[in-house]
């Protein structure tokens, strides 16, 4: 079973909680996907509306583990402060660490990411860094104390799938023992199946489920894709070849000779 900072996690599908048509649809999607871990965030609270209060009660009723993020942070200081705030309010040392470096692609600022990860790991956080597929950055994050990595598939919300297949395969091959979760950019269940087939341990999906015409059905589809990918990985996929090989035995073929 997958273990994330000593916490066993059975489901390989993690879900973001944003952009659903309603909380009820989010709850139904989480159930349909068999989801155990959902991501959450912090935002400014208005004393009058108390929207955060209602959301937190709703999430607790779902009975899932929360992975708070530092989404929207553009500096090390913002991300570290947000992590402290998240730990207090959500009561978990888990933190999906995001330090955004570029607004059009929401590409992580990997330099700030490593620095923030070093600080937070030293303070006892279980850091899940949102990173690129860069090997050297991955190495630095592990040296900083991270024991899980979350490489992007493609820019957040783009639905493009695994953009840099070669880079991601290389990352998987270099760190065979490190749990790697594809975070961001997956659009359809086949992308998720492909990630698991390549040996990635889990996927985190938000927009592809939340913005589907039927998010509940899509969550179920992603769950089945992830299961299929995991089973395929265990079964040992064949190597692709450049030339055709007949699958029907050629011995005894009629009309020959």
């Amino acid at each position: 079973m997958l273990s994330l900072y000593e916490t066993p996690v059975r489901s390989r599908l993690m879900l973001g909680t944003a952009r659903y048509p309603s909380p009820a649809v989010l709850a139904a999607a989480a159930r349909a996907g068999g989801v155990e871990v959902v991501t959450v965030a912090l935002r400014r609270e208005s004393a009058g509306e108390r929207a955060g209060q209602a959301f937190w009660s709703f999430i607790r009723e779902l009975g899932v583990r929360v992975l708070p993020n530092t989404a929207g942070c553009h500096s090390v200081k913002e991300a570290v402060t947000t992590a402290h705030m998240a730990r207090e309010v959500f009561g978990t040392p888990w933190i999906k660490l995001e330090v955004i470096g570029e607004d059009d692609t929401l590409q992580p600022d990997v330099f700030g990411l490593v620095e923030a990860a070093r600080t937070l790991c030293a303070e006892g956080f279980a850091v899940f860094p949102y990173t690129t597929e860069d090997l050297v950055v991955a190495e630095r994050l592990l040296a900083a104390g991270c024991r899980v990595l979350m490489p992007w598939g493609a820019p957040i919300g783009s639905g493009r799938g695994l953009n840099n297949l070669f880079g991601l395969k290389t990352l998987r091959a270099h760190f065979p023992e490190v749990p790697l979760i594809i975070d961001a950019g997956l659009g359809v269940p086949s992308h998720a199946a492909q990630a698991l087939e390549l040996g990635f341990d889990a996927v985190l999906i938000n927009t592809a489920v939340a913005q589907a015409r039927d998010p509940v059905q899509m969550a179920g589809a992603f769950a089945r894709a992830v299961e299929a990918g995991l089973a395929a990985r265990a079964a040992g996929p064949m190597e692709p070849r450049d030339l055709a090989t007949p699958s029907t035995p050629v011995i005894g073929t009629a009309f020959r000779g």
């Binding site: 935002r43 208005s46 009058g48 959301f55 937190w56 705030m85 957040i156």
Partner: protein, 65 residues
């Protein structure tokens, strides 16, 4: 004195963070706070004194990806 609360200026006579949160209507809610970019734990709000121009963030759980 004027304090910037979640991006909006507010006038207050509260000298510390805890009474300010009460004054603003956050009493009894699950929120987490930072002053001038530094986290202030719930247990430290009574002793965290405020000065003119401080920037307060009051955050709560929200949907996220």
């Amino acid at each position: 004195m004027k304090i910037l609360v979640n991006g909006a200026w507010r006038d207050t006579h509260s000298a510390a963070l805890a009474p300010l949160l009460e004054e603003l209507g956050y009493g009894g809610t699950v929120v987490t706070t930072a002053v001038n970019g530094e986290f202030v734990a719930a247990g430290k709000r009574e002793e965290r004194l405020l000065t003119e121009g401080d920037r307060l963030e009051v955050l709560a759980p929200m949907q996220g990806g």
